[in-house]
């Protein structure tokens, strides 16, 4: 069965490594924080100027001066720090953040990503996404494999304005975990109960299937 948004987040959380600084985008990526493996320490960076971002505050303790990049009230954990936007993006561009997880509207088989603009329709802006994808060594995209009409979002070429080029290395969708290399999507794991055929049918870009493809484990 296809993964829920929570399960996508849960699968991505398995990729976290000890001592990593991690930036989580809005949407599914935010949920990753709920599934950090017990035996590792990671620190969440919020690009509006915080390290060691914690959970939402207890009701009544919200502070208008302490929000995350999604403008939600949050808390800061022990060992955290606060800083300005220039230093925050110095961390990002300077590759001090080990992992970026973000959503996408489209991903192409050469690692391009589009997630900020639908011409004439949605023009909210890229926020920090362009800096993040242009800088991060390690980017995981969390997304649905197809749009509401069933059209694939894993494409030969993106049709929407790009956020970044040749940057995405891993994609976790509701159907599969895929790696991008050699101008193709390599199928690494299937969602439990989802067949390779279903994934093939939902992928417009070149899909490489090598050997037996295991199911994800949770």
């Amino acid at each position: 069965m296809a993964l829920s948004k929570q399960e996508i987040a849960q699968r991505i959380a398995q990729e976290l490594q000890d001592k990593w600084y991690v930036n989580l985008g809005i949407g599914i990526p935010t949920l990753v924080a709920n599934y950090i493996p017990k035996n590792i320490d990671v620190v969440f960076q919020s690009e509006n100027g915080m390290l060691s971002m914690g959970p939402f505050p207890i009701e009544g303790e919200e502070d208008a001066d302490l929000i995350n990049a999604g403008k939600q009230t949050v808390t800061i954990l022990k060992g955290g720090s606060l800083f300005d936007s220039a230093l925050s993006f110095a961390m990002i561009r300077g590759q001090h953040v080990q992992l970026t997880v973000l959503g996408a509207m489209e991903v192409s088989q050469n690692g391009d990503i589009a997630n900020w603009k639908i011409p004439g329709k949605m023009v909210k802006g890229m926020g920090g996404a362009m800096d993040l994808v242009a800088s991060a060594e390690n980017i995981i995209v969390a997304m649905m494999h197809t749009d509401k009409s069933g059209a694939s979002k894993l494409l030969k070429r993106c049709s929407l304005p790009l956020t970044g080029v040749n940057c995405v290395k891993k994609v976790v969708t509701n159907l599969a975990y895929l790696e991008i290399k050699n101008n193709a999507f390599y199928l690494i794991e299937r969602a439990p109960g989802v067949s390779v055929e279903e994934i093939k049918a939902a992928t417009e870009g070149t899909l490489i299937v090598e050997g037996e493809i295991p199911e994800m484990k949770f």
Binding site: N48, D84, S88, R93, D131
Partner: protein, 233 residues
């Protein structure tokens, strides 16, 4: 000690005119110069170019200037959460330049730091880089980005002293320190104005040299855009 104190927002905005370019601190509604924005609305200056990470919401922040059609052009990284903004943008009433958030922050800093241009990887290969110079360094491609040239910068701090030194609180710091560096005239409004000597010189976020005018703000709303909480267990 050079005293930077003015009485109020009215005095602080002396010299503001139609057609000027402003920087306004804040991320979402967090750390925005509420008093300066109110005064800009009251003055009714128009044809403004505003450099600010966001554009407020329909009835608060820069949304108040939008509603009165005072803004000719917005330079921002993210402008969601604002229906009137979207309407003016899509209808072509207002010009909008969207740039990556880190590029925006660095361009503000460059403006204040006497750096006319720098290279950044953000936006390479996208429409943001169209018409801009690109260049390879160590096998990676970068885009040349330039400093701004704003007449005024309006920033909001938590504490400030009569010498113009500023301390910000929490994530309300965001773009304020770089914009404070960048204004030909920088106006700082603060929640608490104290005498010079009361702030620890080792803990100043923005040294007074960058601030031309400072005043004690009033009636702060400090609205929360997304009130998210954990239920007591």
């Amino acid at each position: 000690m050079i005293n930077k104190v003015v009485n109020n927002a009215q005095d602080a905005l002396l010299g503001v005119e139609n057609g000027m370019t402003f920087m306004l601190g804040g991320f979402g509604l967090c750390g925005i110069p509420e008093n300066c924005i109110s005064e800009l609305v009251r003055l009714g200056v128009s044809n403004l170019t505003c450099i600010s990470n966001n554009a407020g919401v329909d009835d608060f922040g820069l949304g108040l200037l939008l509603k009165k059609h005072q803004i000719k052009k917005m330079i921002s990284s993210y402008v969601g959460e604002n229906e009137e903004f979207e309407r003016q943008m899509l209808s072509g009433e207002m010009d909008v330049e969207l740039i990556p958030q880190g590029t925006l922050a660095e361009r503000c800093r460059a403006t204040g730091a006497g750096i006319p241009a720098f290279y950044t990887p953000a936006g390479y290969g996208t429409e943001v880089a169209e018409g801009k110079e690109t260049r390879e360094f160590n096998g990676k491609m970068y885009v040349l980005e330039h400093a701004f040239n704003p007449e005024f910068a309006f920033v909001k701090a938590w504490k400030g002293d009569t010498a113009g030194n500023l301390i910000f609180k929490g994530t309300a710091r965001n773009f304020n320190p770089m914009m404070a560096m960048a204004g030909k005239i920088t106006v700082a409004e603060v929640e608490e104005l104290v005498e010079a000597g009361e702030l620890d010189p080792n803990q100043i976020h923005t040294p007074g040299i960058f601030v031309q005018r400072i005043f004690q703000g009033k009636d702060y709303e400090k609205r929360i855009e997304q009130r998210t909480v954990t239920q007591k267990s």
